[in-house]
């Protein structure tokens, strides 16, 4: 999952999906951009996110809905949020993040700790952190305490805690219909930290 660049709001990605839907679910990327009087690179961030989440496939410059993408765009506002929550949870980035939040002794994660986990360099850390926080909040994966600059758990009832109540029971990735999204190799240079979890740190 792109963490630093490109920067894209969830509403932009939803807008792109709605746009694709008005083109009957499949369209040349250039024509999609032109429909809103945009340049191609203005829709690329949203397109990339939708690809990584398995909502859209782009082949030979043509974007087409996957089954999940079609389901997403046909869903209500509330259903989309739930769908997005599931899709984000399947990404390494958000699984790592949620696990870190869950395991933290205070059950909160500051911006700095988040930046450290993903080896974000100082110059880009703020933007990247804000982007991650934005997506996580949008999908109701966690809340954000703006005074303390920290991620805190969501209020929603989560999976029942067993034993020490640490990591949630299912940490293995479930086989999904959009398996290609999970296996998408991180673009750009490999993470600098020694942490084993692969993270897409895009430079």
């Amino acid at each position: 999952m792109p963490t630093i660049y490109p920067k894209c709001n969830p509403t932009e990605m939803v807008g792109l999906l709605v746009l694709l839907d008005s083109h009957k679910g499949s369209e040349d990327v250039a024509l999609l951009a032109r429909d809103l009087d945009l340049e191609i690179d203005e829709i690329l961030p949203a397109l990339e996110y939708s690809e990584v989440l398995g909502l859209v496939q782009v082949v030979d410059g043509r974007a087409t809905f996957s089954d999940i993408g079609r389901k997403f765009v046909a869903a209500s506002i509330r259903e989309r949020k739930a769908l997005l929550r599931d899709l984000l949870k399947r990404t390494t980035l958000f699984r790592t993040l949620l696990r870190a939040l869950e395991n933290h002794p205070d059950r909160r994660l500051t911006d700095d700790e988040l930046a450290q986990i993903f080896s974000l360099t100082t110059a880009r850390a703020d933007d990247a952190v804000q982007n991650i926080v934005n997506w996580g909040r949008y999908a109701d994966l966690f809340r954000y305490d703006s005074e303390a600059h920290s991620l805190i758990p969501t209020r929603r009832p989560s999976a029942p805690k067993g034993g020490g109540g640490r990591t949630p029971p299912s940490t293995t990735p479930t086989p999904s219909t959009s398996g290609s999204a999970l296996k998408k190799p991180p673009t750009g240079s490999p993470p600098e930290s020694a942490r084993p979890a692969p993270v897409a740190a895009v430079t």
């Binding site: 709001n9 509403t11 932009e12 990605m13 939803v14 807008g15 792109l16 999906l17 709605v18 746009l19 839907d21 008005s22 083109h23 009957k24 429909d35 809103l36 009087d37 945009l38 203005e42 829709i43 949203a46 209500s76 506002i77 509330r78 989309r80 949020k81 934005n134 909040r137 949008y138 999908a139 109701d140 994966l141 966690f142 809340r143 954000y144 305490d145 703006s146 969501t154």
Partner: protein, 267 residues
């Protein structure tokens, strides 16, 4: 029975040396389940018209009727969404949404439940305690929308609601407005959208009231009979854009044109 009847409305404002006429003899109706757009060049009085309809201001001539009562005070059955969101920066999302309900004198628990409901409906779950400064434009407008819907208005008034948003976010919010409007279990019944964006009007509305330049008069009412989601690149869409654009850009006062400048046919 129409929801709203705008009957021969004039509006002028006093200036230092007399008065300036903003609109003249504007008539149209808003029916239950309508999605009506009002388009026109800047200065034609579109925003003023919304304020008159809601009762925030009074016409100089003519009248506005809601159901069968004249609108002479702020109508609680309508709510407005603004171009620049108009959120209170010192209040959280939940507090902003609650604001209109507090003004109605509701009890704390009832307000909390209603706020939760409309935060959920508009996709703002997880942002309850956020402040507007933490939100993107699109999310701020959702708060504006949640606030408006929480009072369960029959008519949602929208004053250029997407103009301050980036193109993709605007696209997503337009579609969400349509979803909410179409849902019979949710407010509003009808939407009245003021926009300078002709394509947006055609994309969303069933009917478009086209106003002239100041003093704004109704040039025509254009019906949009296309199935949704509407394809901006289709010939039918283009023809409508062309038609509305031609109406608006005609030089001088217009005395001809389709539609009924005196107002819609009697229901």
């Amino acid at each position: 029975m129409p929801l709203i009847q705008v009957e021969h409305v004039d509006k002028s404002f006093a200036t230092g040396h007399g008065s300036i006429s903003i609109m003249k003899d504007v008539s149209f109706i808003v029916k239950d389940a309508d999605f009506l757009a009002i388009v026109g060049p800047s200065g034609c009085g579109k925003s003023t018209l919304l304020r008159l309809i809601q009762g925030l201001d009074r016409p100089t001539g003519g009248r506005i009727v809601f159901h069968d009562k004249g609108v002479d005070t702020v109508c609680g059955h309508m709510a407005m969404v603004f171009q620049n969101f108009a959120l209170f920066p010192w209040l959280t999302v939940a507090q902003n949404v609650a604001f209109g309900l507090e003004a109605l004198g509701w009890g704390k628990e009832r307000i909390a439940a209603q706020v939760e409901r409309y935060i959920s409906v508009t996709g703002l779950d997880g942002f309850q305690e956020a402040y507007p400064r933490e939100l993107s434009g699109g999310m701020r407008q959702r708060v504006g929308l949640a606030r408006a819907l929480s009072v369960e208005p029959e008519v949602l008034l929208m004053d250029e609601p997407f103009s301050a948003l980036d193109a993709l976010t605007a696209e997503s919010l337009r579609e969400e407005i349509l979803q909410l409007w179409r849902d019979p279990a949710l407010p509003p019944d009808a939407v009245l959208l003021v926009t300078h964006n002709i394509e947006e009007a055609i994309q969303l509305a069933d009917r478009i009231v086209v106003l002239s330049r100041r003093p704004g008069r109704v040039l025509a009412e254009v019906t949009v009979d296309l199935p949704r989601p509407r394809d901006r690149k289709s010939t039918a869409f283009y023809d409508l854009t062309d038609k509305v654009f031609s109406l608006i850009t005609q030089p001088g006062p217009v005395s001809e044109g389709p539609g009924t400048p005196e107002g819609a046919p009697a229901v």
